[in-house]
Amino acid sequence: MSSALHGPGLWYLTRATGLVTLLLLTLSVLLGMLNAGRFRSERWPRFLTQGLHANVSLLVLAFLALHVGSTVLDTYTSISLAAAFVPLASSYQPYWLSLGTVALDLLVALAVSSLLRGRLGHRAWRRVHWLAYACWPAAVAHGLGIGTDRTATWVVGLTLGCVLAVGGAAAWRVAGIGAGAR
Amino acid sequence: MTGAATGLVRFQPPRLLAGLSYQRPADLAAHERCYGPPPRATPRLIDVVDASGLTGRGGAGFPTGRKMRSVATRRGRKVVVANGAEGEPASSKDRLLLTRLPHLVLDGIVLAAGAIGADDAYLCVHEDEADLLASLDVAVAERRDPLRVRVAGIPGRYVSSEQSAIVQYLNGGPGKPTYSPPRPHERGVRGLPTLVNNVETLAHLALIARRGDRWFRSAGLPAAPGSMLATVSGAVCRPGVYEVELGTPLGAALSQAGGPAERLSAVLVGGYFGAWLPAQVAWPLPLTHAGLKGAGGALGAGVIVALPESSCLIAETARVVRYLAGEGAGQCGPCLFGLPALADAMSDLAFHGGRGRVLGQLSALLPLVERRGACRHPDGVTQLVRSALRTAADDARRHDEAGPCHGTRRAPLLPVPDYEALQEDA
């Protein structure tokens, strides 16, 4: 490893992309729940929700790739590429890191199943997509456990905001289901 | 149209119902005494059935020989399913066959299986019919066939009698119609090519196997050969199941049932998925698929209900539509929501007056319901409603503008299960 890869640059990249990924993932989950709840208004058609959800999810994958890449390339902590995909494969904070790994694996499953939705059929696709409700909390916990900035007030505030938003959307969904919506 | 004009041979003695008796038990010995023992089944039977021109007696009227061949030509094992569920409340012919002449049906099943190379066969009836299931078990136990027919009870919804729904139920599914292929003759029960036939069709097949195609064609018309069972009910003196030659004028069938008990205004032909026709129009029509269809009716499963002038056609139809609206599988939005909406509109028209609006509502609703489901259930209902509005157009207008007529207070004529739950003209 060249010395150019050792230094704060990659570390800042990891931290920044991690936060952005969390925000985008939260946005994706919110849009997904909005879609499942069949939200529609005069100026906000269904296909907008659906299209945004799909595109934001792709952005999540892009930023996640940067996050993983910068982490792996950074020689300060020896996290291998394998550790990004295989839980408990790293020696550096294995449990908190693995939450991120699990979230990544689930995200890959969600993305692949959605891209192959036509071949999978609706019922199978739907069963896989429920994993989103496991993916997001794992990502949030990963950030709270291993994130360098986890103690900074503004980061805590941001994370709390994400949790409240998803919690609120979940309450809206549950209320909708209780009211007999499909 | 007289017998001579239609080209009918003079009236033949009963064929299927020759062995019908209400005194003797319907056992194997009596059956063979009357009809003779069944011949061995060979693939050649398919050619004979083809030549005979036998068509399905379950309502669709598809050529039976062609259906058998489409299954027989497939490779591997095959299954025969006999549909005796008779979801149509106004039909009792299948029940008559299964209770009084079960061995004729069982012969037909075994012969069809032998002809197409099937080694598995089911006879399906409504699962609530405990006595019928028991008597059929007894009948099967009496026999010494190379193949043992399995008697199965299926769920009772109207749509459950539909071909793909039966196959789905036998495969362990909920007994609801499916949307797209595979069709039963390609992949049916357990994924095997399956022949599904109405029990009356198989009963005819049992006799064709014994007596040949020319015998079968010696009754009926060249384009519509053979005989059929008609369930005649309503305002006739002797309602019941009668065997008539195809092509018999409808009026002759009504006469066989003792003739009208009162003056008739209309006749329902084909069953609840059939159509109403004015009595004068219906009387001379030949009982064939083509003949009735040409007049806007349908032969269906041979249901004929005579409506007297003192009854209200709109009210009878409204009750039937309410019943059918609850009989869907509930899988398709347009049917799930559209049929109750139709039932509401028909009820308003029949029992509460339309306030001048209901006919318009109906004409807007009908195209939203027809052909938008996965099976023919909604189409059957819209066909019935359209024929009612056409046949009783004046009554419908009067109901819409002025309110219900006297006929709505008459006791209902058309049988509707669980009627107490549907009371709405009280």
Partner: protein, 84 residues
């Protein structure tokens, strides 16, 4: 190209009507009505039609290419044969 709706899979999400209003309307209960009824898609709408098919959340909107046709079937003509 021809569109058709699987009425069992359709649960009335309505995205198809948003993306292809030229051919798809919603009935009073939220389910799609195709115009023309046979679902024949004019060439200039083909791209929009394909997008609508991809957008359906339950994969209920289906497209058949011009070459494929539904074969006649014993038992009723269109697979919905009633054998009672």
């Amino acid at each position: 190209m021809r569109l058709r709706v699987n009425p069992i899979a359709c649960t009335g999400h309505g995205l198809c009507a948003e993306l292809l209003p030229e051919m798809i309307d919603l009935d009073p209960w939220g389910y799609p009505v195709l115009t023309p009824e046979d679902g024949q898609v004019p060439r200039m709408l083909a791209g929009h039609a394909r997008r609508a098919v991809d957008a359906c959340p339950t994969l209920a909107l289906l497209a058949d290419s011009a070459a494929s046709t539904v074969a006649a079937f014993p038992g009723g003509g269109d697979g919905r044969g009633h054998s009672r």
